[in-house]
């Protein structure tokens, strides 16, 4: 970990030297120390806190909704031919559409505010979860399912106790993709319209000429996404520990 931090510190040092010695104009590349100072100032003036909480709430809600709905849909698709025949083409059709393109439509439907942002996040995140759950559940050993049926388990119980646990390694991968996408969707939709959230704050500060503030917020969003992914990686490692040989 410490050895891996060396190149990153090198880049930050180079950035600081280039910017502080005036090789790059201050409004193009502010030095690292003034960005850090501005980040602290944004925190103490109360500009950062509420927007941070709003964004995290939207990301969490959209991500959880997409994950739950995606797992249910994927599991149902793997167990029911009728649902599969219906959902598969809809997935294939919506897969190539860039999901932020639904933003204007949600804006018309839901108005300006959190519901629109959450809807964009759910739309963006659900497909990887559905596909990974479906693929994982389809690979479940049939004999295991038959055994469960012979023991008198009902279809719902089989999904919960047999299919989903067996598909967990695939589901975990799909959720990781969804987690990364949730931040992308959150930031894009907040930048596009609205008066709240980190995405709004970054573009608002940039438009107002506060480039140190803009860099601070952009880097903060970057760190949030990175740490969320790291935390998820550690959590999924623990979840999947029983599956390793």
């Amino acid at each position: 970990m410490t050895a891996r931090a060396v190149p990153i510190l090198l880049f930050l040092g180079l950035w600081e030297i280039v910017a502080a010695l005036g090789f790059a104009p201050r409004d193009i590349l502010p030095p690292v120390h003034s960005i850090a100072a501005r980040a602290v100032a944004l925190g103490t003036t109360g500009e950062l806190g509420p927007n941070l909480l709003t964004s995290l709430g939207r990301a969490a809600l959209g991500f959880v909704l997409a994950t739950c709905a995606g797992i249910v849909l994927g599991a149902l698709m793997s167990r029911s031919r009728a649902i599969e025949v219906f959902v598969n083409p809809v997935l294939a059709l919506s897969y190539p559409i860039p999901k932020p393109a639904f933003f204007p439509l949600f804006l018309i439907w839901l108005g300006l505010g959190s519901p629109t942002h959450v809807a964009v996040i759910v739309t963006g995140c659900i497909i990887p979860v559905v596909i990974s759950t479906y693929n994982g559940a389809r690979r479940v050993n049939r004999h295991v399912v038959w055994t469960a049926q012979n023991f008198g388990m009902g279809p719902t119980r089989i999904i919960w106790r047999v299919v989903l646990p067996a598909a967990l390694p695939d589901i975990v991968v799909g959720i990781r993709v969804a987690l990364t996408l949730s931040f992308d969707m959150l930031v894009s939709s907040e930048m596009l319209a609205g008066q709240t959230g980190l995405g709004f704050l970054a573009s608002y500060l940039g438009e107002g000429g506060d480039y140190e503030g803009m860099f601070a917020v952009v880097l903060m969003i970057g760190f949030l996404g990175f740490f969320a992914d790291q935390a998820y990686g550690a959590l999924s490692g623990r979840l999947l520990a029983p599956y390793r040989d």
């Binding site: 083409p89 190539p96 393109a101 930031v187 930048m191 970054a202 952009v218």
Partner: protein
């Protein structure tokens, strides 16, 4: 004579019935969705502003095509997508190849790439607009930046996994260092490059549409935002459909290119999605 005509009809009918479900089945959900959509819209239960009927979307599509706006916007969006994607392939492949073949390159760039890989890079859009303006520059370079990372990491592992035996064979038959790179290392990394490209192509599309929606300047994304402001939901839905069609066409083109260039590769049929 009459007998054989009846027979041929019956044969055709049987053949139709056999072929029918195979063609009809994947279309049924679409038809069902469109019929339900049209029925709801026509019943007047939902405001046509909230749910424009499919017929309205279709006539808007025809109108946009007739005025030429659709082609101009599509051309601009596709140009930006391909330019950004192309830069990402060139730069990403070079960086990834360097990381995969040089221990120093891997040490220097590995942590930075893995940090940026899992950050929401679209958040850099305000910085790109500050650096490269609101026109094509920021849109294309934002796209290139976002798309470069899957390409970098695919080429990194691809170049690293090239069998040492192949390199040794090349050296033993007297190939020079640059010839080993050109004739062995680069071709052997190509399948990984295509995989990285297939992963990043949808991101190119996301990046272009978001940056067009954000800073305007033409293209399908700008048209959508403008239409949404004028409460023209039929155009919004029409453009979403066009974006989907372009997405399908672009990924089909990439698959076709993979098949053409990598006929020798055993994983050529691997589906990446």
């Amino acid at each position: 004579m009459g007998h054989s005509v009846v027979d041929s009809w019956r044969h055709t009918a049987i053949r139709m019935r056999r072929a029918g479900p195979a063609i009809v089945r994947p279309l049924t959900p679409f038809t069902a969705v469109i019929l339900v959509w049209q029925a709801i819209a026509a019943s007047g239960a939902v405001n046509s502003y909230l749910l424009p009927p499919p017929t309205a979307v279709l006539s808007r599509l025809i109108h946009l095509a007739a005025t030429g706006d659709l082609f101009a916007d599509t051309a601009l969006t596709v140009y930006r997508t391909l330019a950004g994607f192309g830069i990402a392939i060139l730069v990403g492949a070079s960086i990834g190849f360097w990381m995969g073949t040089s221990a120093f390159g891997e040490w220097l760039l590995g942590p930075v790439v893995s940090f940026l890989f899992s950050t929401p890079k679209i958040s850099f859009l305000p910085i790109f607009i500050l650096w490269f303006g609101t026109f094509d520059g920021s849109k294309i370079l934002m796209t290139a930046f976002i798309c470069a990372f899957p390409v970098i990491s695919a080429c990194h592992s691809g170049a690293k996994d090239v069998s040492r035996l192949w390199r040794w064979v090349g050296q033993n038959i007297g190939m020079s260092r640059s010839r080993v790179v050109r004739k062995i290392m680069i071709p052997a990394t190509l399948p990984a490059l295509f995989t990285g490209g297939a992963i990043s192509l949808p991101f190119a599309f996301i990046a272009v549409s978001v940056s067009e929606m954000m800073s305007g300047g033409g293209g399908l994304g700008a048209r959508m935002m403008l239409s949404a402001r004028f409460a023209d939901s039929a155009t919004v839905v029409a453009v979403i459909i066009v974006l989907g069609a372009i997405g399908v066409a672009l990924s089909a083109a990439l698959t076709a290119a993979r098949h053409r260039l990598l006929r020798w590769d055993s994983t050529v049929d691997t589906v990446v999605a």
